[in-house]
Symmetry: C2
Subunit: 468 residues, 2 copies
C-alpha cells in the first residue's frame, strides 16, 4: 500500500505489515475460506473463535488514483456520503446502530481502494451485514446532505493538510515523485477541486463503482465459514452487478532522467527532516519476489534504531538523530522506496545527507551481512506469528491484498516468499532502487533563523492521512 | 502560448510575438473582417494585396492539455492522421496537391490547439478551402494507415525528444512545474502511451472535437472579405456542428509551498545551463493588463544582450555567458515566466546562479529605470509595425488568440494595452513572479568530469518542439 488513509486504531506497525498472519505454508490456512458469489462479490472468511467478536470489511476496488482529473477527492467524499443512509437507514443510523450494539465502525480511502468495516459482537454480524449490503445497493444522497458533507471534507482537509506543514510537504513530494501516474494526487483531493464536487459527481461515482463485482467482503472472527457464507448469500447475493468489472488501467510513469529536490521552510517545523523517494516495483500476482527483497531491504537498512545498517552507521555514531527506510508493496501500480533522515540538532543538514549518501554507498559496496539478514528474517517470521493474534490485521491483509490486485494465494504465499529472500536478492534490489541517481529528495526546514529546536519524536516520513 | 509546436519557418522571433500586427488602435483594423457561420465556425479575414498569395489556417480549439490521462499524444497523432485523406482525397493527396500548385502546407499541435495551414497563390484559395473543409468533415483513417503513422510519430519522438538531452530535460521540467494541470504532459505524448494509441482513439478524438463550432478559420492575403466569406460559406457552411461546444475546463494548479530543483547530467551537453520557471497568469479575455506587464518585464529583463537589465548586470560583467527572460501569455490557462542562464565557460554554475539571484534582488529593490522602460516599449511598438508586413504572422496572432480564449477585440487591443504598461505595473508583476521563493530551478549539466566545453550558441530554453 502507499500511505493508506487509515484510522490510528487500524494502523499496523511496520512489523505487523511485514508479516502476514500465517505460518510459512503456501497452502490455504485451515481457518481461511474463500469463495465468490454469483454476482461477483469475492469473499474471504477467517474463523477465529478466541473472542466472541467479528470484523466485517467491505473493500471496493476503487480509490483516488481512479478519479477523473479535476474531480480529485471524489473517492474520499463518497466514502463520507456512504454514511448518509438509504431508504431503510437514516443519515448516521448505521454508525449509531453499531455503537448502540457495542461495536465500532469506520471507513478509509486510499489511492487503490475504499473500505468500510465494523467490529462487533459476533451475534450481531447479521445486523451489520444487512446494513452494509443495504448501502452497497441503495445509497441515498439527499439534497440536504451533500453540501454539508462537502464542508465537512473541506474542514478535514483544512485541519489535516493545510494547517500541517509536514502534510503539505508530503503532498508536494508526492506530486513530483509521480509525473504521470495519478498517485501524484492527494487522496483527500486538491482543495479547489473538493469545493467543486457535486451531488451528481458523487452519485455517478457510486453508480459506476459500488458494485458487488468490484468489492471484496472479508469476515474475520467468531463465525463458521458455513454461517458466514450463508449470511453473505442472504445479504449480498441478490445485489446485481452493475455491468462488467473493467480492468484497472491507469497512466503509468515514464522513465525519468533527472534528479529532483524539493524544499519547504515553515516556522512550525521543529527540526529539519529529509525524505528521499525512488520508484519501486509493487507486489504483483504470482510475482512478489522483488517486492519481498525490497521489504527485507527496508527492514535491514532502517527497521531498527540499534541494529539496522543505517541506524548503526548514522544514529549510533551521532551523524543523524533519526534515519529510516520504508517500503510497502501493497499497491496496484509501482510504488516508492523511501529513506528518511533527521540531522543531529543544530547541525548542518547537508552534512547529515552526505553521511547518509556515504552509508548507502558503503552498503552497496560491502553487501549484506548474513547475520543481519538472518536477524531481520527472524524478526519478520516472529511478526508473522504475532500478527496471527489479530483477526482484524489478518482481515486487513486479505482485503488490502485483494483490493490491490493480488489473489488469496498471493497473500498466503507472502511469508514463504519473504523467508526465501537471499542476500543476492537484497543487493540486486538495493542496486535498483539506491544504486543510480534519480528520485526525489525533499527537505522540510524550520524557518531561518531557526527556532530553538524542540525535543521531538522521530518523524513519521510517510504519515498516513487519517480519514473516515 | 506555451512553447508551441511549430515549424521553424513559422517561428516568430520574440520581438514579433510581442508585437501584434496593428497600429495602436483598439478598433477593428480596416483590413480585418470577423464573422461566424451558422454552424459556429468563427472566421477572421485579413486582406493584404501586396502579393498574390493567401494563407488559410484552421485552428481547432483542442490540444494536448485536453487529452484523457493515459492517452497522451492523441492530439498530435490525430494531426498526423489528418493528412490521411477522405473519400475524395487519397492519403497524402492534400499536401501533394498544394505542392503541385506551388504552395506549402503544414500543421502544428500545442497544449491548447491543433492547427492546419496552407500558403498558396491566391487564385488557388478555393482549392485549399475545399480540401480543408473536406477533411474537417470526412476524414478516413484506414486500417492500412493508422499503425504506420503511429510508428512515424514514435520515430519523431525518438528523434526529437529521446535522443536530445535538452528535450528530455525540458519534458521533466515541465512535468514538475505543473502538479495538477495537464500542461505537465508532453505534447507529443509519453512514449509508452503513444505506442498504445489505437485507431479507435483517433476516430473518437476526431469525432468528438473536429467540428466547425470548435474551429477558427483565418484567411490572410490577397482576397477581399466578400470573396473570403462567400468561399467560407460555400466550403464550410454545410458542415454540421457535432453537438454543443463544451467549455474547456481543465484541472487547475494548487497553490504550491515548496521550492523545487531538478538536475540532469548528460555527456552530450556542451555546457551547463539553467532554467527557472514560475507560474504566471495568462492573457484572458478583457483582462490582459497583467500579461502585458509580464511581457514588458521579460523584455526589460532579458530581451537584449547589450541593454537588458540582466544582460548588463551579468553578461557585460562576465558573470554569465548568456541570460534570458521569457514569457508568452497566449495560453488558455496560467503559464510560465522563465529565466535562463548559461554560466561563463569553466566557472562554477552555483556562482552564476547566485549572481542571477542577486541581480534579480537588486532589480526588485531598485525598480524600473524609466529610460529602460521607454526603450523596451519603443522596441515593442516598432515590432508591431514590422509585424504588419507579414500576413502570415497576423493570421497566426488571430488564430492563436482565438484558440486560447481571447476575442478578436482582445487581439486588437493588445498593442494599446502593452503601450499603457507603467513602471509600477512592471514592478508589481515582477514582485509576483520573482519576489517570493517557489518555482522550479533546473540545471542541465555535462557529465562530470566535464568535457572540454564547445563554443556554442546561446541556448533556447524553451525550444519549441517541431511537429507536423
Amino acid at each position: 500500500m502507499r500511505r493508506p488513509t487509515i484510522r490510528p486504531a487500524l494502523m499496523l506497525s511496520s512489523a505487523l505489515v511485514l508479516g502476514s498472519a500465517f505460518s510459512a505454508l503456501a497452502e490455504m490456512p485451515e481457518d481461511v475460506t474463500h469463495f465468490t458469489l454469483d454476482n461477483g462479490l469475492e469473499a474471504v472468511v477467517i474463523e477465529d473463535d478466541r473472542a466472541p467478536v467479528v470484523v466485517q470489511m467491505v473493500w471496493y476496488k476503487i480509490g483516488a488514483a481512479d478519479e477523473v482529473p479535476g474531480k480529485s477527492g471524489i473517492a474520499h467524499y463518497l466514502e463520507h456520503l456512504m454514511f448518509k443512509g438509504t431508504d431503510k437507514l437514516a443519515p448516521g443510523e448505521l454508525s449509531k446502530t453499531v455503537t448502540a450494539n457495542g461495536g465500532s465502525d469506520n471507513a478509509f480511502t486510499s489511492w487503490d481502494y475504499t473500505a468500510y468495516f465494523q467490529r462487533i459482537a459476533s451475534d450481531r454480524l447479521p445486523l451489520v451485514m444487512g446494513m452494509e449490503a443495504d448501502r452497497m445497493a441503495n445509497l441515498k444522497i439527499s439534497d440536504d446532505d451533500w453540501q454539508a458533507e462537502r464542508q465537512v471534507v473541506l474542514a478535514e482537509r483544512a485541519q489535516r493538510i493545510d494547517s500541517d506543514p509536514a502534510a503539505l510537504f508530503n503532498e508536494e513530494m508526492n506530486a513530483i515523485v509521480f509525473d504521470n501516474h495519478p498517485y501524484s494526487r492527494p487522496i483527500i483531493g486538491w482543495k479547489d477541486e473538493i469545493a467543486d464536487l457535486t451531488r451528481e459527481d458523487a452519485i455517478d461515482w457510486y453508480d459506476t463503482h459500488y458494485s458487488p463485482n468490484e468489492a471484496i467482503l472479508v469476515i474475520a472472527g467468531d463465525v463458521t465459514p458455513e454461517e458466514a457464507r450463508r449470511l453473505a448469500e442472504e445479504n449480498y447475493g441478490a445485489i446485481p452487478a452493475k455491468g462488467e468489472a473493467e480492468p484497472r488501467m491507469r497512466p503509468q510513469e515514464p522513465t525519468k532522467q533527472t534528479e529532483r529536490r524539493i524544499s519547504m521552510t515553515d516556522p512550525r517545523v521543529a527540526q529539519p527532516r529529509m525524505i528521499r523517494s525512488v520508484l519501486a516495483p509493487e507486489r504483483n500476482a504470482g510475482d512478489q519476489e522483488k517486492a519481498a527483497a525490497l521489504t527485507v531491504l527496508a527492514d535491514l537498512l532502517g527497521g531498527s534504531t540499534q541494529t539496522s545498517v543505517l541506524g548503526r552507521k548514522l544514529m549510533l555514531t551521532g551523524k543523524a538523530l533519526w534515519v529510516g527506510a520504508s517500503y510497502d508493496g501493497l499497491s496496484l501500480d509501482p510504488t516508492e522506496f523511501t529513506l528518511s533522515l533527521v540531522p543531529p540538532q543544530g547541525s548542518d543538514p547537508a552534512k547529515a545527507e552526505a553521511a547518509l549518501d556515504e552509508a548507502i554507498a558503503t552498503f552497496l559496496k560491502d553487501g549484506v551481512d548474513e547475520a543481519d539478514l538472518e536477524r531481520v528474517k527472524t524478526r519478520i517470521r516472529a511478526a508473522q506469528v504475532y500478527a496471527k493474534d489479530s483477526a482484524h490485521a489478518r482481515a486487513y491483509d486479505y482485503g488490502q491484498g485483494l483490493a490491490t490486485g493480488l489473489t488469496v494465494e498471493d497473500v498466503n504465499d507472502w511469508p514463504d516468499i519473504l523467508s526465501a529472500v537471499t542476500a543476492d536478492d537484497v543487493m540486486t534490489a538495493a542496486r535498483e532502487v539506491l544504486g543510480e541517481g534519480g528520485g526525489v529528495t525533499g527537505w522540510l526546514m524550520p524557518e531561518p533563523p531557526e527556532e530553538p529546536m524542540a525535543k521531538s519524536a522521530p518523524p513519521k516520513p510517510q504519515t498516513p492521512e487519517v480519514q473516515g
